[in-house]
Amino acid sequence: MSNTCVRKSWRLLAIGAALAVVSAALPASAALGGDGASVQADQLHMQGSLRTTAAAAYTMHEIQGASGTVVREYVSAAGGSAGKVFAVAWHGPWRPDMRQILGGYFEQFAQAAKSQSKIRMGRRPLMIELPGLVVEQSGHARAFAGRAYVPDMLPTGVRPEEIQ
């Protein structure tokens, strides 16, 4: 299974390079908050292979990137955020491309990440809980996991714990 993924990754690496011009023409890389088409842009950007799983309230697209890190993008199936990416999650040896997966929420994330309290210093998990954006990351070198979601975009009945 993992070997298959690796082979797919390499094949898509070549395809991704060939389609670089096409991917640039896709909707702006607005993963979180963007529409489902941005999943394809992210897949190409991450030189990854794609697996899709459907649940009642959303479709989850899993992209296995070339660095070994897996990114999951959740696209809402109904309601006001239908067709939009309302959450992303990741796990693997290294961080994903935060700018790519957070899209239009990246600057908000970056500002919050840089304004974490430094009064009593230490090294600890990232916990950004803004009214309109949640970004969490924990783990250590060679093992990271995190997720980001827009609380107002969660489909009815979907709990944050489901974003895995």
Partner: protein, 407 residues
């Protein structure tokens, strides 16, 4: 009689741990709350393989639960050396990193085969480090390693690529890091490893080549990667033991030892420690009936970090828990053929931090978010009153081949 003696030792030793141990070690004992088991902690205080470590506010004066050591770096093959203190002891990463402002000796730059300087980006969960890979002879206590690739942390020597920063703050200065550097003595030898993403394609994003035209990701041969310096020591090179005495609530300063080698000397035997193998740098922690399969022990984390929606998060220090009264908790750790229960407590961090003279906290905890596989992060409070062994991957010890933790 036995119980009385144990009580007296327990009461006296924490305050005088090092002075009592002039014979080479000091001991403390404690009874578990059930009173059915007794454990004895022996802290090595002398030996060529013993470095003093101190939990205090650190060189920036505001660190909590950070254990700091002193290292000597030299221009390779010379006696042009510098002692740098305030280096954070981190069993959760691998490799020596020093902020450029703390470094006064001119170390040689590592260049790739095409002559371009090699620069590294190392991601942490809340920040990143960036700066050139340079080569140093490293000495800690009396242990020496020659020609060690280290990272010099600098925001200015090479322009930081946006692919490295990713929106996170850098930890390349004293105010940003709170330390003069990081001594990564974790389970891994090299910081990136042997995967194709590290060695061949560079897609891991750790190593860059930086010609004048700008920095680009590159594969980094294993032998050139920044490495846990312990793995390059000529002796006592299979791992470390962090030995810190118990902390009764809070303290301004805690003194202990970083002991090199596992089962290589009379002062670093495994004894009765239980070995928790960590083939993927993780073991399983069970807490409140939830299993956390990617859990780890990390002296570089300043508290216990784990998900628990029933404990309030602090209003001031939002990365920590603030229960209205101290929570007495329990979890169990499991690895192949080993398991054990750990009792711990989480107090109100806003209240703990209100006393600015305290830097070591026994009961500091906070939330860890993110998706499964979840992490239970056993940070520095776990080390108080407990000798914790970290065995390097691929290295043999009397307890088997690393990577493993033991305590």
């Amino acid at each position: 009689m036995r119980d009385l003696r144990i009580f007296l030792i327990f009461a006296i030793v924490p305050a005088f741990a090092l002075s009592v141990g002039c014979g080479g070690s000091s001991s403390s004992s404690s009874n578990s709350s059930s009173g059915t088991t007794t454990t004895t902690q022996t802290i090595a205080t002398s030996g060529a393989n013993v470095a003093s470590i101190t939990v205090n506010a650190g060189p920036n004066g505001n660190y909590v639960n950070g254990a700091f050591a002193s290292v000597i770096v030299c221009v390779p093959g010379t006696s042009n050396c510098q002692t740098i203190d305030g280096i954070l002891v981190d069993t959760g990463s691998s490799g020596l990193r020093i902020i450029s402002s703390a470094l006064t000796v001119a170390l040689p730059q590592q260049n790739a085969s095409d002559g371009n300087p090699v620069v590294e980006c190392l991601p942490f969960v809340d920040s990143y480090t960036w700066g050139p890979v340079q080569t140093a002879d490293v000495q800690i206590a009396s242990e020496k390693a020659a020609s060690v690739p280290i990272q010099v942390l600098s925001d200015t020597d090479f322009t930081t690529p946006t692919a490295c920063s990713q929106g996170f703050p850098s930890a390349d200065t004293l105010p940003a890091l709170g330390a003069n550097g990081i001594l990564g003595v974790g389970l891994a030898a090299q910081d990136c490893g042997s995967s194709a993403a590290c060695v061949q394609t560079g897609t891991a994003g750790l190593y860059y080549q930086c010609p004048s035209s700008g920095c680009v990701e590159t594969g980094e041969p294993l032998a050139q990667q920044v490495i846990n310096p312990v793995a390059l020591f000529t002796t006592d090179n299979n791992g470390v033991i962090v030995e810190l005495p118990p902390v009764a609530g809070a303290a301004a300063t805690v003194s202990g030892s970083l002991v090199f080698g596992i089962g290589t000397q009379s002062n670093n035997v495994l004894g009765t420690a239980t070995i928790y193998t960590a083939p993927n740098a993780a073991f399983t922690t069970t807490y409140k009936s939830q299993t956390y399969t990617e859990s780890f022990i990390d002296s570089g984390s300043n508290g216990y970090f784990f998900p628990d929606s029933t404990i309030p998060i602090c209003s001031d220090n939002t990365g920590f828990y603030c229960p209205s009264s101290t929570e007495n908790l329990s979890a169990s750790n499991q690895a192949s053929g080993a398991s054990g229960t750990v009792d711990f407590s989480v107090a109100n961090a806003d209240a703990l931090f209100a006393n600015l003279s305290d830097n070591a906290f026994e009961d500091l905890g906070g939330p860890a978010g993110g998706p499964a596989p979840n992490y239970f992060d056993w940070g520095l409070p776990f080390f108080y009153g407990r000798n914790v062994y970290t065995a390097i991957e691929g290295m043999s010890t009397p307890g088997g081949t690393g990577p493993f933790w033991a305590y």
